[in-house]
């Protein structure tokens, strides 16, 4: 299980978290699935965090944005391969809320910890299993 992402794209999503600090950022990773569970990220698309009621510890991406990204990536022969968000002043580990609200099995969920406005650690977690048995597995990031 590896998420392959160029350094500049990885930096782009980390920087997004710095820009929205102390609020959570969120976005979509578009690319290709390759043998087994490896993925290659070809682009990173920033999304608005629609959880304006609690943006410091929650994120939500509008389905309309997801549909647009899904449509455009499909036309380019690519797919949504994962999502990213930030944890302001919190570890780069998935939370119970992250798992409860994750439904894209087979996709990567990338989390960056942002401490005092500075991106620190970025981890990727692969969502596996069906809805009732779903779980995150840590996956390597290769950039």
């Amino acid at each position: 299980m590896t998420l392959r992402i160029q350094k500049d794209l990885l930096e782009e999503l980390r920087q997004h978290g710095e820009e929205t600090y102390p609020y959570e950022c969120c976005g979509v990773m578009v690319g290709e699935f390759h043998q087994a569970e490896d993925k290659i990220v070809k682009s990173v698309i920033r999304c608005d965090n629609t959880r304006t009621d609690s943006p410091q510890n929650r994120y939500h991406i509008s389905p309309v944005e997801l549909i647009r990204i899904q449509r455009e990536s499909g036309l380019a022969g690519q797919d949504i391969v994962g999502f990213y968000h930030s944890h302001p002043d919190h570890p780069a580990q998935w939370s119970s809320t992250d798992l409860a609200e994750a439904h894209w099995t087979g996709c990567s969920y990338v989390i960056t910890s942002v401490e005092k406005g500075k991106a620190v650690l970025t981890n990727s977690f692969l969502l596996q299993g069906a809805e009732e048995t779903k779980h995150f597995e840590h996956e390597a990031i290769e950039s």
Binding site: I67, F83, S95, T97, W104, C107
Partner: protein, 92 residues
């Protein structure tokens, strides 16, 4: 009439890896029913045991959430597209 339903990445293992499926329907409800009759494995991933759409499954007719239209009864036209989009959310 024939309408296209777009399938998101996580549900493609249950739609024979197809990213879109043609269905015959007059309404969104009929479209989803035809979809799960063609691909029965999709049913439990879209619907709860009481037959209702799972809360995290969004269904859009073109760019409109069917919850804000006439839900299952929303009529469809030949040129319409239906998109299934699981929600993306979380937090710490």
């Amino acid at each position: 009439m024939s309408v296209t339903v777009f399938i998101p990445t996580p549900l493609r293992p249950y739609s024979a890896q197809q990213s879109s499926v043609k269905v015959n329907a007059q309404t969104v409800g009929e479209a989803l029913a035809d979809l799960v009759s063609q691909h029965p494995d999709l049913r439990k991933h879209l619907f709860s045991e009481d037959g209702k759409l799972r809360s995290f499954v969004n269904v859009y007719l073109n760019d409109e959430d069917i919850r804000f239209l006439a839900k299952d009864s929303t009529p469809v036209k030949e040129t319409d597209t239906i998109t299934i989009v699981p929600s993306v959310a979380g937090g710490m």
